[in-house]
């Protein structure tokens, strides 16, 4: 890979705004995501973290601003968004596995319908990623027969089966029992170690601290502070960041 390619962001958000009616949620977000980045987005509830990540693959239509994919404006370049969305995988807080399909079918349907792959190839890829998240034994199960952690791992495999360039994770562990958080974080850490580009909205500060290459603190619709994890967690500059993190620190110290 050339230096040139490495320095161009895969995704670039430029002055992104999103309002619901009168209520402005995002008020000008600029963010570059490079290949291999693990960007963790933290911040208080209602700050716009989820809206931001949902704007990235146009589940919410940004009110204004540009989302560029390898330098081209997605809105202009992709008349139809599906192919872009296949390149940008999404994992939801509520898993959202297709309830009418088995685990295997969940991981195959996108490949067949969107990437137009044949069933055999789709099955091999699906099995490969299900194995990766440790769920290959469960290919015949229906989502309602799985635990939360298992569902989320399948959801990650479903997204990976499309071989996305960037994986978006919207609070992937927030709906899980504490016991199951670990198994999902482990999968995410392994993916990060393999160099997968990820954007994670999370409340798991320990994960952000260990795994993130970049941490974004969002407050009231703007990026209040951004930087390397050690900058944000050890030497936060802004008062607001310090306040937010102090709550987590008190908690984690109390645990120890």
């Amino acid at each position: 890979m050339t230096f040139e390619e490495n320095t161009k962001p895969v995704l670039s958000l430029q002055d992104l705004h999103k309002s619901f009616g009168e209520r402005a949620i995002l008020k000008g977000i600029d963010l570059d995501i490079y290949k291999g980045d693990v960007v963790c987005i933290i911040g208080p509830s209602g700050s716009g973290k989820s809206t931001l990540i949902r704007c990235v693959n146009f589940l919410e239509d940004p009110t204004s601003g540009i989302i560029a994919y390898h330098g081209t404006d997605v809105k202009k370049a992709f008349k139809k968004l599906p192919l872009y969305r296949a390149k940008v995988g999404m994992v939801f807080q509520q898993f959202n596995l297709f309830n009418n399909m088995t685990v295997l079918e969940n991981c195959m349907v996108g490949q067949i319908k969107v990437l137009k792959l044949d069933a055999k190839t789709a099955k091999e890829t699906a099995l490969q990623y299900l194995k990766h998240v440790g769920m290959a034994d469960y290919i015949n199960a229906k989502p309602q027969q799985l635990s939360g952690g298992q569902k989320q791992r399948v959801a990650i495999a479903r997204a990976l089966a499309l071989k996305p360039e960037v994986l978006l994770l919207d609070e992937p562990t927030s709906a899980l029992d504490p016991e199951m958080v670990g198994e999902v974080l482990k999968v995410m850490k392994a993916l990060a170690d393999e160099g997968l580009t990820m954007v994670v909205v999370t409340h798991e500060m320990a994960f952000a601290k260990d795994v993130a290459s970049k941490v974004i603190f969002i407050d009231q619709g703007v990026i209040a502070e951004a930087g390397k994890p050690e900058d944000i967690f050890v030497h936060p500059k802004k008062k607001r960041t310090q306040d937010f993190l102090s709550r987590f620190n008190v908690f984690s110290q109390a645990k120890m």
Binding site: N57, L59, D61, K80, L81, P82, L83, Y84, R85, A86, G89, M90, F92, Q94, F95, N96, L97, F98, N99, N100, M101, T102, V109, G110, K113, V114, L115, E124, L127, Q128, L130, K131, G134, A136, D137, Y138, I139, N140, A141, K142, Q145, A155, R158, A159, L162
Partner: protein, 266 residues
């Protein structure tokens, strides 16, 4: 001719012998009307439900928006009119209206199929819309997020779940139709009620005949209801699943990554 029966059950037995075939044929017509009517009604309902839930695309042209909007209004009108008037009246209007307005002389049976179908369609359209709305919004979002368009998401994800959810409604409609096709006697469709009325008139044995009719209706509706239950269970699939130890899934990596050899030919 032998002596006439004297007891209630004697009459029932006698009438069954005399008119059993007529009643049986009537029951067949009733069943046919109900099943075909419900089936076509479901298809109408499905189509209306799908069109009614097409989201408005902000980027589409003004003409496309207008067409979609007027289609929806038209379908709304259809649903309101056919839900809001009795089927017995619809039968009269369709059968005699077709004759006097368009000089179409349709057979009573055809008019019957037509009325039952569009009447059921109006009800099913609302059920279908409810069924589609009842599927968690996250399902649609996930489908969109992996790159499906609206119609792919509908076909692969939403509709299978929506149809499963409204299966009890479909059963309801089938049972209602088995009973309510009786109103088609006003346009002389020879269904079960019409056949019973004709048979009862001969000996003036209304109670005896309609006792039999009652049982026939109940057997038909009860069977329909059980069949729908069975179908629901079948759609739900097995309650457990088997773990699959696929070679590809072997975490130790000791097994070769190759298709399992089949017993045949080895």
């Amino acid at each position: 001719m032998s002596a006439m029966p004297t007891t209630f059950f004697g009459w029932v037995y006698f009438l069954l012998q005399e008119y059993g075939t007529v009643l049986f044929k009537g029951a067949l017509v009733t069943l046919l009307l109900a099943i075909v009517g419900t089936f076509i009604g479901c298809i109408i309902g499905l189509i209306v439900g799908i069109i009614e839930t097409i989201p408005e695309d902000k980027n589409s042209s003004a003409l496309a928006k207008f067409v979609l909007k007027s289609e929806k209004r038209l379908l709304d009108a259809y649903v309101e009119i056919f839900r809001g008037t009795p089927m017995i009246v619809q039968a009269m209007v369709v059968f005699y209206g077709a004759m006097s307005l368009f000089s179409i002389d349709m057979s009573p049976l055809f008019a019957g199929f037509f009325v039952v179908s569009i009447n059921t369609g109006a009800y099913m359209a609302e059920s279908m819309r409810g069924g589609i709305d009842s599927v968690d919004a996250g399902q649609k979002e996930a489908a969109i997020a992996i790159g499906m368009d609206h119609f792919q998401a509908m076909r692969c994800v939403i509709l299978p779940q929506a149809v499963r959810n409204i299966l009890p409604q479909i059963g309801n409609n089938l049972i209602i139709n088995i009973k309510d096709t009786s109103v088609l006697n006003v346009i002389s469709v020879t269904e079960l009620y019409f056949a019973s009325k004709s048979a009862a008139g001969v000996y003036y044995k209304y109670f005896e005949i309609f006792f039999i009719t009652c049982i026939i209706y109940f057997v038909m509706t009860f069977t329909a209801s059980r069949l729908i239950r069975w179908w629901e269970g079948k759609l739900d699939g097995p309650h457990d699943y088997k773990l699959v130890h696929d070679p590809l899934a072997d975490p130790t990596g000791l097994l070769p990554v190759a298709p399992t050899p089949t017993k045949k030919g080895r």
